[in-house]
């Protein structure tokens, strides 16, 4: 019975709040009326009687609130009231609310999105079984510019037998293969793997199985298909397992289909693309292969009881032994090393991602500072309201709760916006991310990060939303009510707020300088002369199979015919071919070379080597310094005619005319050096990275050294893309079974080479823009607030004959002072922080004056405009007339 009564009262409190409140009012009215009547009976006037009655009651609001607080469920009810009230009061200040919610949202959203990317790319374990047990093994040939060199067969064999900390060691290399019998013949990106490779990664096939030891050296090659290839070319038919397909004009049997998520994640410079389409077994008799042929990208799995450091030390020791046992095969500084797979995988992207992450953290701080500033201004504006409510008998606790709820509501709305912003930003990031951020596509909103940023923002927002409460708590009610509420006790707060804005400007400047430096870098990259002209050139690859074009003559005839057909296409001005397109992801081809008389193998240099068909240099606009480029008459005897770049000429023939000089090169990786004769000197091509000058370059005639596949470059006077179908037609007319692939404008490869710089620049620019907007909001707030406080003073000045311009400049002086302080701090901060960016800058000093100047000018212009608005308003002050 009693419980039922309580429950009913609870429901009444919560659901009939208005009614309950009205009844309380009615009852109180009745009480006051009775008390007044009593006083009137003593002959006191009506007004005085009522006044005394009210005093006796001791503040109607307070009594009512106390009575209400006695009711069951009043906590719940008053909390909903608090939310309703907070909602109303936020809606009454739409400018403030929008600014605060957006600032929250941007801060939370940007931080969450960027951290989610960092999480997916840098932190998340690689998708292999116990991936922290996996290590890459590389040869370090840094002294010839090759710090991440692949290994040769005998080297892998030796590690397999001697490095006992490893359970398995396997290798992979990327090649090409032609898939026929499914519509147009297709060129596939294929990886050849050693026996241990798939068991070592701990991945299995989705259908069928991965390679076992018996699959090596079979007459019919077993093949594993990628999920994408299986879907596209085999109609996602699971029964394809066991079927015979035609690969490189020979039968192959499908052993299995890999899952959709399986990717080989190698560092970008390892030349193992992550979009491989098929895998075939290879690498039998590793130990018998030539030691000079370094082509295997090697991964090892540690034994369960082995420590990471054991594996690393063992690789170094076994490697050292190998180098000592084969002194002729290694340069003096050569060494072998192992590095955890994830660490190596993220090596090229880590600095950029971390600096982006640093940027977004600065942005979050700016956002928080901005929120604090906004709430302080609001607190000042609500001083009077707060005081009146206290004077009317509102309780401190109730007010405190009210402001808490308001802060909470703001941060909740901000978090909601933040989730939206994060979602959008993450989609945008994955869409524009360069391919080097391979795993960015696995990034998903990280709940933990979202919670962390949201809670940070919430604590911050709630803390500063208590400002109006603290504000009045500190001051005397009477003085606020009786005097001009804008006058008292504001100096401290004004200083604090100025400090906040100064910090905001300083941090904003740091981000602006960062963005400026990245923009400078990108501009330098755009203006950089890579040694060739990419625009107007279409490229594609063909790989005429040796089964049908078995001899060098047959291959040469095919290429000569194709070149002629292409040259005859309308709009085509020149045609050439090369073994590698600049900035493609084919494994680099580097060959050891020696001066003619030198026999000591350890003294050999290493040159990036390409086979080039006649017309290529002319087509891409390479610079001929001396001699000639290749033509159809080039003969291998007495020496192979070669074109070298100026760097190689300088290394081999310092101070001499290189033309006609001879040297020797091991083109086949067999240890046999063949003589070469320089016929031409070409300007160095930046063909592997734009940011580094690179190694000496050697170009040999494709007619003499046959490579497969061959990349064609076709220059047109029109749009290269429109040439694609005509090119396919030309190839089909010559050989209908030959696939044409990688049809891409040369410009595309260059853009891709700049993609990560573009990505960093765009992000840094976005952060800087946001920081700039927030800084403007901040300084506008301060100045507008100060102007509001001094409106009367300005009115007096104007009335006494001050020109509006004088008042404007008076206000602007405040803004300029903040700007100067912030700029000075910001420049110091930027000077320190930009050093951290040094590794990511190209041809740009960390204290590049132009970047700093641009940042300061942008900041000054934007903030001064933000100050000018309230200043101009002050100049037209009508405060006196209003009074």
């Amino acid at each position: 019975m009693r419980q039922w009564h309580r429950f009913r009262e609870l429901c009444r409190t919560i659901f009939r709040g208005t009614r309950v409140s009205r009844e309380l009012d009615d009852e109180l009215d009745d009480w006051v009326e009775r008390l007044s009547e009593r006083h009137r009976a003593e002959g006191i006037s009506d007004d005085e009687a009522r006044r005394r009655a009210l005093i006796e009651m001791g503040g109607l609001t307070k009594v009512k609130e106390e009575a209400h607080a006695m009711r069951n469920g009043s906590q719940i009810e008053s909390t909903t009231t608090d939310f309703k009230y907070a909602w109303r009061s936020l809606r009454r200040a739409p400018g403030f609310t929008a600014a605060a919610v957006l600032t929250f949202g941007l801060g939370i959203g940007a931080t969450t999105a960027i951290f989610s990317v960092v999480q997916a790319v840098l932190i998340e374990p690689l998708p292999y079984r116990d991936s922290d047990r996996l290590l890459f093994i590389w040869a370090d040939l840094a002294d010839i510019g090759y710090p991440h060199a692949p290994l040769a067969g005998p080297e892998v064999a030796e590690f397999q037998s001697k490095a006992s900390a490893f359970q398995q060691i396997g290798g992979v290399w990327a090649t090409n293969a032609t898939l026929a019998g499914h519509g147009d013949p297709e060129q596939l990106r294929v990886a050849t793997v050693t026996a241990d490779f798939f068991p070592l990664l701990g991945v299995d096939a989705m259908y069928g199985r991965v390679f076992g030891p018996d699959d090596f050296g079979q007459p019919v090659t077993p093949v594993l298909l990628s999920h994408a290839l299986w879907q596209r070319s085999f109609g996602a038919d699971a029964s394809v397992v066991g079927r015979t397909i035609t690969l490189n004009d020979r039968p192959a049997i499908v052993l299995g289909v890999m899952g959709p998520d399986f990717k080989l994640l190698f560092p970008p410079d390892a030349a193992v693309p992550d979009d491989l389409q098929a895998w075939i077994p290879g690498g039998a008799r590793l130990a018998a292969q030539p030691r000079g042929q370094q082509y295997l990208r090697v991964v090892g799995r540690l034994k369960a009881d082995a420590r990471l450091v054991d594996g690393i030390e063992q690789v170094a020791a076994v490697g050292q032994g190998m180098i000592q046992a084969n002194p002729g095969s290694y340069t003096p500084a050569s060494r072998f090393y192992a590095v955890p797979m994830l660490e190596d995988n993220v090596r090229p992207v880590r600095p950029a991602l971390l600096s982006i992450f640093g940027g977004v953290l600065i942005l979050l701080v700016i956002a928080c500072v901005n929120i604090a500033g906004l709430l302080i201004v609001r607190a000042a504006a609500r001083r009077k309201e707060t005081s009146v409510r206290l004077a009317m008998g509102g309780s401190w606790g109730r007010l405190l709760r009210q402001y808490l709820v308001e802060g909470l509501l703001l941060s909740l709305a901000g978090t909601a916006v933040g989730i939206f912003v994060a979602r959008f930003a993450l989609d945008l990031l994955t869409a524009v991310a360069p391919s080097s951020l391979g795993r960015v596509h696995t990034a998903d909103l990280d709940g933990g990060v979202l919670a962390f940023t949201a809670i940070t923002a919430m604590v911050w927002g709630v803390a500063f939303s208590l400002m109006p409460w603290a504000e009045v708590r500190r001051t005397d009610l009477q003085s606020v009510l009786q005097h001009d509420p804008r006058g008292a006790g504001t100096a401290v707060r004004a200083r604090f707020r100025s400090a906040l804005v100064t910090a905001q400007i300083a941090l904003g400047l740091v981000l602006l300088v960062g963005a400026g430096l990245f923009a400078r870098t990108f501009d330098r990259l755009l203006r950089l002369d890579p040694g060739f002209r990419a625009e107007g050139v279409m490229t594609f690859r063909v790989a005429p199979p040796f089964s049908r074009y078995p001899s060098r003559d047959a291959q040469n005839t095919f290429h000569r015919d194709l070149s002629e057909k292409l040259r005859a296409l309308s709009g085509v001005t020149s045609v050439g071919a090369i073994s590698h397109v600049p900035h493609d992801n084919l494994p680099n081809w580097a060959t050891p070379y020696l001066p003619m008389g030198e026999t000591d193998g350890s003294k050999s240099g290493l040159a990036d080597t390409r086979t080039v068909a006649p017309g290529f240099f002319e087509t891409v606009g390479a610079r001929l310094i001396a001699g000639r480029f290749f033509d159809e008459r080039d003969q291998a005897a007495p020496a192979v005619p070669v074109v070298i770049d100026e760097l190689m000429a300088q290394r081999l023939f310092p101070g001499l005319d290189p033309l006609g000089q001879q040297f020797k090169v091991d083109l086949g990786g067999s240890g046999q050096m063949a003589p070469m004769q320089v016929v031409g000197l070409v300007g160095h091509l930046r063909h592997r990275t734009l940011t580094e000058y690179g190694r000496e370059q050697l170009f040999v005639p494709a007619r003499i050294v046959t490579r497969n596949p061959v990349a064609y470059a076709v220059r047109t006077s029109g749009d290269p893309v429109s040439l694609a179908s005509a090119i396919r037609e030309a190839v089909r007319a010559l050989d209908a079974k030959l696939p044409v692939y990688d049809m891409r404008p040369l410009d595309d490869y260059l853009s891709q080479a700049r993609a990560s710089n573009l990505f960093t620049m765009l992000l840094a620019g976005a952060f800087a823009a946001m920081a700039l907007v927030l800084a403007c909001v901040g300084i506008y707030g301060v100045i507008a607030y100060a102007v509001g406080r001094r409106a009367r003073e300005f009115g007096v000045r104007l009335a006494l004959g001050a020109r509006p311009g004088q008042v404007v400049s008076l206000v602007m002086r405040d803004g300029v002072r903040l700007l100067l302080a912030g700029t000075a701090l910001g420049l110091a901060g930027a000077y320190g922080a930009s050093r951290l960016l040094r590794s990511q800058l190209f041809d740009t000093a960390p204290h590049d004056p132009a970047a700093y100047a641009a940042a300061v000018i942008a900041l000054a212009a934007a903030t001064l405009v933000a100050c000018l608005i309230p200043a101009w308003r002050a100049g037209r002050s009508t405060a006196l007339r209003d009074e």
Binding site: E23, D30, E56, M57, G58, A67, H68, R71
Partner: protein
């Protein structure tokens, strides 16, 4: 020292109100008047404290407030009646009070 009598008074106030309403239903101001009258002015219950107290007792289910028309003023007024639960509560408080009086008396009478 200043706080302790007030604390005790809170419990006492409940008991006084319940006892006052045991005799007859009354409206709020009348409850205050009756308490002052009966205690000879020793307890002056201000309307500011009585009002929340009445509502608390009502929430406990010990008294029931009902709107009616007052005979004296002819206006709508809220009169409070003691409920059965209130009667039990009053009995309990009486016993509790007696124990306190006895105990305090023992302490004071100790020689």
């Amino acid at each position: 020292m200043a706080k302790r009598p007030a604390e005790m008074l809170k419990g006492t106030l409940d008991m006084l109100v319940l006892r006052t309403l045991e005799l007859q239903p009354l409206h709020g101001i009348a409850v205050a008047d009756r308490i002052r009258q009966v205690t000879g002015g020793t307890f002056e219950v201000g309307p500011g404290s009585l009002f929340p107290a009445l509502h608390r007792l009502e929430q406990e289910g010990w008294i029931r407030g009902e709107w009616g028309v007052a005979a004296d003023t002819g206006r709508r007024t809220r009169a409070y009646t003691l409920t059965a639960a209130g009667r039990r509560q009053l009995a309990a408080e009486r016993r509790h009070w007696a124990r306190i009086v006895a105990a305090v008396g023992q302490v004071l009478d100790q020689s």
